[in-house]
Amino acid sequence: AQTVTQSQPEMSVQEAETVTLSCTYDTSESNYYLFWYKQPPSRQMILVIRQEAYKQQNATENRFSVNFQKAAKSFSLKISDSQLGDTAMYFCAFMTRRAGNMLTFGGGTRLMVKP
């Protein structure tokens, strides 16, 4: 079974600063996918970024980037130039096709961006 751990229940950052959210996972699979989702108070889960395990290059999406360390089973999210609209719950998630494509989520990190 796969497990995903987010060790930071809450974090805060000043507007325009950079923040890194941590995620570790445990799996015996070699092919899998990792995701970061954002859930603002509206409850809508929004995809932030995805990473295929077979790709060595870290994924980036504008102000969002990941540090994927496959050997260490670590998948952290870096948010640069934080904006007030980044305030939300952030969930790290794992998926493998062999386990049926469903997502396994971490417990989430609540991020507050302060003006």
Partner: protein
């Protein structure tokens, strides 16, 4: 285009009643998932539909929970004889075609908040 929609947005019911929650996936998406988000358990997988294959029901917590997907599109999650521990947000997601790279990404609806009194 239109995203995943769910109805109702909120549902309050009395213990012992049955409820039905609806999900409309993104048009053309063949895979559909149900998840439950609760304070105590976090986000949990419930059930997964892929095309015409038999659904993966491995996440359903009890036989009071069932789901169907009609015509490969709309899905209904039914909870019979609701209990207070069923109170949670029920999230639906869809993906274009499970089993290929970028199309595995799941897109979520806004969820249904269920409160059992």
């Amino acid at each position: 285009g239109a995203g995943v929609s769910q109805s109702p947005s909120n549902k309050v019911t009395e213990k012992g009643k049955d409820v039905e929650l609806r999900c409309d996936p993104i048009s053309g998406h063949t895979a559909l998932y149900w998840y439950r988000q609760s304070l105590g358990q976090g986000l949990e997988f419930l059930i997964y539909f892929q095309g015409n294959s038999a659904p993966d029901k491995s996440g359903l917590p009890s036989d009071r929970f069932s789901a169907e997907r009609t015509g490969g599109s709309v899905s209904t999650l039914t909870i019979q004889r609701t209990q207070q521990e069923d109170s949670a947000v029920y999230l639906c997601a869809s993906s274009l075609l499970a089993g290929t790279s970028s199309t595995d990404t799941q897109y979520f609806g806004p969820g249904t908040r269920l409160t059992v009194l």
